[in-house]
């Protein structure tokens, strides 16, 4: 057990009947950092997080959370970690304020401090106006924020956020990102799951890619993208006749091989991460030489490409379940199996 690690797992595994949801995963999360679990539907992200938050008992493997043995010292772990589940875990039939007061009271705060803590959080999370409305009437983004507020009523040492932005619009997503950054600035360790490489990229110090219960790669966002090689520059010209010249100019500017596409006006080139400036320069060269560009695009490596590169198979869901907003049946549908 390493004291600098907020989470350390060795061979963590969990099966549901014949489904090996998590098939032996080793993780190391340094205290004070953001760790991202990235993977498609059914990869096992939620199962990992629920085990680490003491909601599920691992079948095998060992895990220490904040220095406590996950299984033997579950009550101690529970005192210091907090989970925002994949599906909103707030009470829809209460107001936002009542939800937070309830959680604060359960944490042991006396009534008056509980109320002022609730108000303080509502204010900071932009929910003051909706404080006395039933959560039922909240938008998805508001619900998420309330959910996260409930998670940090008493500032935990380690927070699990399970797909905190799935189903949110870009603005709400940014708000959640701001919250995560503020959490880390305050010294809390964050472990979050996501299906979006971009999100992991923006927030996480380290990322583990999970596929079908296995960790298939781990590293910083830069390392993972580098392992894919890169993105691609696609250029389409106005006149096919100018393609040979464009090819020559691009090859010189990008110092790489240029592919001629089936479309006689189109060319493409692989570009390394961080080479955006070079691309801009290459496009400027075309313009200066009088080669008219109809259209160009710089494709960033997506989760799909990372996946394809690492596994040889596309990032398809491991099962038929969907990932969007919580279905009426709630988070436990799949348990019917």
């Amino acid at each position: 057990m390493n004291p600098h690690l907020a989470v350390e797992t060795i061979g963590l595994a969990k099966s549901f009947g014949a489904t090996r949801a998590v098939a032996g995963v080793d993780l190391e999360v340094r205290s004070g950092t953001v760790f991202g679990l990235l993977g498609p539907n059914g990869a096992g992200k939620t199962t990992i997080v629920r085990m680490l938050a003491t909601l599920l008992r691992p079948d095998s493997g060992t895990a220490w959370v904040l220095g406590h043995d996950l299984v033997q010292d579950a009550p101690l772990v529970r005192r210091r970690v907090s989970l925002t589940g994949q599906f909103a875990s707030v009470d829809e039939e209460l107001t936002g304020r009542e939800n937070l007061v309830m959680i604060a009271r359960l944490h042991g705060m006396p009534p008056r401090p509980a109320r002022s803590r609730a108000d303080e959080l509502l204010e900071a999370f932009g929910l003051a106006d909706a404080a006395t409305r039933l959560v039922k009437t909240y938008s998805g983004g508001m619900r998420r924020r309330l959910d996260i507020a409930a998670t940090i009523v008493v500032t935990p040492d380690l927070v699990f956020l399970d797909e905190p932005t799935t189903g949110l619009d870009p603005r709400s997503r940014n708000q959640v990102w701001d919250i995560v950054r503020a959490l880390v600035a305050g010294g809390t360790t964050v472990m979050l799951t996501t299906q979006y490489l971009e999100e992991a990229d923006r927030l996480a110090d380290r990322i583990a890619i999970i596929d079908r219960g296995h960790k298939i790669a781990e590293g910083t966002a830069g390392e993972l993208k580098a392992s894919v090689g890169a993105g691609a520059l696609h250029v389409r010209l106005r006149q096919a006749a100018q393609r040979p010249e464009a090819e020559r100019l691009l090859a010189a500017a990008l110092a790489t091989e240029i592919h001629l596409e089936g479309d006689p006006t189109a060319l493409s080139a692989t570009v390394d991460e961080g080479d955006e400036e070079r691309v801009a320069h290459a496009l400027a060269e075309l313009a200066r030489a009088g080669v008219a560009v109809a259209d160009f695009a710089l494709g960033k490596p997506s989760l799909d490409e990372v996946f394809l590169a690492l596994t040889g198979h596309p990032a398809e869901p491991a099962d038929a379940q969907t990932d969007t907003a919580p279905p009426a049946g709630g988070p436990h549908d799949e348990e019917a199996a």
């Binding site: 599920l56 994949q86 944490h107």
Partner: protein
């Protein structure tokens, strides 16, 4: 009180729906970690939650009020003449029975509410918190005791209006209701176990009705078991609802039947002793 809070904080700023990044830092600064609520406080917080829900949606009291009114009026006037000669005579015996039946019939709501919490995911939050496990259940049961009391009050008040004259007076009726609450609280542990086991609130309702219907009807609530065939009588005699009805009648009319009262208390203890541990196991076991 809360309305004034929120209006003062929002004055002049149309952007209160915005995240206050400047404030985030303050609210996220770690403070002294309080000592988690003890079992009793936590249970009371959950009871408060149940009462808040009733406050927000008073319509959920509809069945709690309609059941007893319907049962009392219907059975008194439908069967009164045939069974006891007149509705007025019948209601003296019937009302304590109706009391038992209405309260027993609404006990499954505890299980349904629990099941809903699980489906919605909020139970995950409670389970991942450092609180006494059963608190959420005990609190919900305490909140439900309020519903039971309300149903009992309505039944008694209506009964008195249409001719119920309990010989035991107010004290007798209160004792009868008290015993009924004790039994209902114990009975509810069956439904919490069912609520944890079933997939949907509807199936919780179905299972509980399948158990409750035979229990309430194959009893002495409506008619004297002496007229029933032997094998039914055998069941009626061991049915706790029968003992509860006998005990409630005896208390309401001021002639306590200590045998029946003891039987009800024993049944209550057994129900809790069996189903509370089952519930707790299901609660802690992974979902």
């Amino acid at each position: 009180m809360t309305t004034t809070d929120s209006t003062t904080t929002s004055t002049g700023s149309p952007a209160t729906a915005e995240l206050r990044v400047d404030r985030l830092e303050t609210v996220l600064t770690p403070t002294e970690r309080p000592v988690p609520a003890g079992p009793w406080t936590a249970s009371l917080v959950f009871a408060w939650r149940a009462i808040l829900k009733i406050k927000h949606v008073p319509m959920q009291l509809f069945d709690v009020t309609m059941f007893p009114i319907m049962f009392t009026v219907l059975f008194t006037y439908l069967f009164g003449g045939a069974i006891a000669g007149s509705p007025r005579e019948y209601i003296q015996d019937l009302l304590p029975g109706i009391l038992v039946m209405t309260v027993a019939m609404i006990t499954p709501y505890t299980g349904m509410g629990l099941n809903q919490d699980i489906q919605k995911g909020i139970f995950d939050r409670f389970r991942s918190m450092p609180i006494w496990g059963p608190a959420a259940l005990v609190g919900a049961l305490l909140g439900d005791a309020l519903r039971y009391s309300l149903a009992a009050m309505i039944t008694v008040a209506l009964g008195i209006a249409i001719g119920f004259r309990p010989g035991g007076g107010a004290v007798g009726v209160l004792l009868a209701v008290g015993l009924l609450l004790v039994f209902s609280f114990s009975l509810s542990w069956i439904w919490t176990a069912v609520g944890l086991r079933m997939q949907t609130p509807e199936s919780v309702m179905q299972v509980s009705m399948m158990i409750l219907f035979p229990l309430t009807f194959a009893s002495n609530v409506f008619v004297d078991p002496a007229t029933m065939p032997g094998w039914v009588q055998a069941f009626v005699d061991v049915n706790p609802i029968t003992h509860l009805t006998t005990a409630a009648r005896s208390l309401a009319h001021g002639i306590p039947d200590t045998g029946a009262i003891a039987a009800v208390l024993v049944a209550s203890v057994v129900l809790v002793a069996v189903f509370a541990p089952v519930t707790m196991r299901l609660y802690r076991s992974e979902r």
